[in-house]
Symmetry: C2
Subunit: 339 residues, 2 copies
DNA sequence: TACCTCTTGGAAAACATTTTCCTGGACGAT
DNA sequence: ATCGTCCAGGAAAATGTTTTCCAAGAGGTA
């Protein structure tokens, strides 16, 4: 089972066997090469990955860090990352943070201790200074050790990043909805300390201001970035009473919860209230009514992040790949009824 | 950065440093222990995981093999597995097969070469003899090498298994639907060579027979085990014409596609046709109408499989943990209209 | 033929740990 | 006091590769 046994069985040295099995820069003569491969097959040799990692000081592991793998947003990205990694013959290790900022740097340290070749950090980052600093430091150590890091959505870290244009996407959506005839809006704005949520809120808000539309304070509700957060935020919005004809929810997962809450409250979508989301997660197209949203190419973003970390040459300074969102009009938004 | 440097810095031997950092069976005196921990912290020491794996001949990796991580069925199970693994301080490596039976044994070999401590095989197994034999052999080598294997759904392999009672679950669903007044059924039966799909079909069929209900051959349609497979199967069913008042789809992901196809064809659910699925994936509750199904505790199944592979003592012979499915009545099924 | 270069093979160092085995001292019992 | 037992600490072997360095032979050129 060890390479030494293979070498002995083939009657060659350990060095030669090693060169044959993984093909180094050095050549090995035809005869010996065949003897070695034959012996390896015959003995059912399987290389010891940890020994290789130790000797080479780099492994075939690629890290993927997400908040919650059962969230369709992250599982779409994960599908992209695994697809790309497996093409390269690498294996992906999946870390989940449960949205604890601390976990992110801890996982990165673990991956460093495993000599992971690269890591993809997905998931929107908290605005918290302290955890960002820790994370940046950890990324620096990871790259110094030879690893590569790519982020999805986490602008501002010392690594290549895929950045959806949240601000302009939300603004475009706002303009679309205004063109549809809406001028009284409510917003489920997600957590206050999440960069992504804030950018989408700001973009939407800016477009409204541009069109001369004021947004009443009580029409902006903050809450968790999850389905249940969306449900609960909606209940609060309705309890406070709202005059809006259109509800913008800063991500689709929350919007799904919002729709459930509206349905439970007996409101019809879009007749009583239009609803729009952001992301275009795959499960969306099966909701009724189908949700108007801003499409992000999630799986592609995962792939691209992995490609960035694996294939591309290491750039001197962090690159930023912007991704545009495209407004997708579906049945959940319609011109406001002439009440 | 190496343990030797830490040892030198603390003025102790390598052995002592090792014993302090990871706590072996041996004791280390108070004074030395403190010197070592202080040095480690001061130097920012991080253990080299591959060296540890090599020396210990076991790693902190847990494998998880699924067909497609963006499928909610698998991502729910994955959430359970990662949850349990991370509790134990282990990290999970995610392998996706894309439903190629060959990939499954290849991934298992890779995990063996990494000295993974355990692996969870999720995903229904093909009926194919050859690939099952290969997989069994690979599992045997994995366990012989000290690793543990647990399966979800893959009965018949030499490993502990979580087995949903597909047969009786489907039968219970059939009885429920019959009690609701249906007696003309159609079935989207999934792939012919998938054990899970076949068991559910058989169970449903058996309950119908028991009730004296015949199932016309043209009312059973086979197709891919995916959303699009469900969509396409439904189109074929409708194209052929059906007199059924109730459609049973062997899994929820397919059922989601089926509902879309029915909607596109202008059929109302449940007025024109009742629809029922199987699994109870989380996205289901947001469909309209919400889908009647057989609930499986997916996340729990993942957790339990991981627990089986990590915590339990190794049993002499493979254990089988049966999981009962519970019929969940929602709005997608109703008594047939008196046409 | 002598010298130089190039190629192929092997011996051994290097990688960073864990663990076995040995040594010396402390302590308790006879 | 002597022996035996236990315990903390260290030296070194062991884990399975890769890779550097050396040697020997082949082939080409002066």
């Amino acid at each position: 089972m060890t390479l030494e046994q293979v070498a002995r069985h083939a009657g060659v040295s350990l060095a030669t066997a090693s060169r044959v099995i993984n093909g180094s820069t050095r050549q090995v003569g035809e005869k010996l090469r065949e003897r070695v491969t034959a012996s390896a097959r015959e003995l059912g040799y399987l290389a010891n990955a940890s020994a290789q990692t130790l000797a080479r000081n780099t492994s075939s592991l690629v890290g993927l860090i997400v908040h919650d793998i059962s969230d369709p947003y992250f599982s779409s990205i994960a599908a992209g990352v695994t697809g790309c990694a497996e093409q390269e013959g690498l294996i992906v290790v999946l870390g989940t943070t449960g949205r604890a900022p601390q976990r992110e740097s801890d996982l990165l340290a673990t991956l460093r201790s495993h000599r992971a070749r690269a890591v993809v950090l997905a998931g929107s980052r908290s605005i918290d200074e302290e955890s960002t600093r820790r994370l940046s430091a950890e990324i620096a150590m990871f790259t110094r050790q030879g690893g590569r890091v790519a982020c999805v959505t986490q602008e501002g870290l010392p690594a290549d990043t895929i950045v959806p244009d949240n601000h302009n996407g939300a603004a475009a959506l706002a303009r679309h909805l205004i063109a549809q005839g809406h001028h009284r809006f409510a917003i489920l704005a997600g957590p206050t300390d999440l960069r992504t949520a804030r950018d989408r809120l700001d973009g939407f808000h800016a477009a409204l201001s541009n069109a001369g539309i004021e947004l009443a304070h009580h029409n902006v509700v903050h809450g968790a970035f999850t389905r249940d957060g969306g449900y609960e935020s909606t209940r609060r919005l309705l309890a406070a009473g709202t005059d809006a004809t259109c509800l913008f929810v800063v991500n689709d997962v929350m919007a799904t919860g919002a729709m459930a809450a509206l349905r439970d409250a007996g409101l019809r979508i879009p007749q009583d209230l239009s609803v729009a989301g952001f992301d275009d997660i795959p499960t969306l197209r099966d909701l009724t009514p189908a949700l108007t949203t801003v499409r992000l190419p999630l799986e592609w973003m995962g792939e691209e992040a992995a490609r960035l970390a694996l294939r591309e040459e290491h750039a001197a300074s962090p690159r930023v790949i912007p991704v545009l969102g495209e407004v997708v009009q579906r049945e959940s938004t319609a011109p406001p009824s002439q009440a």
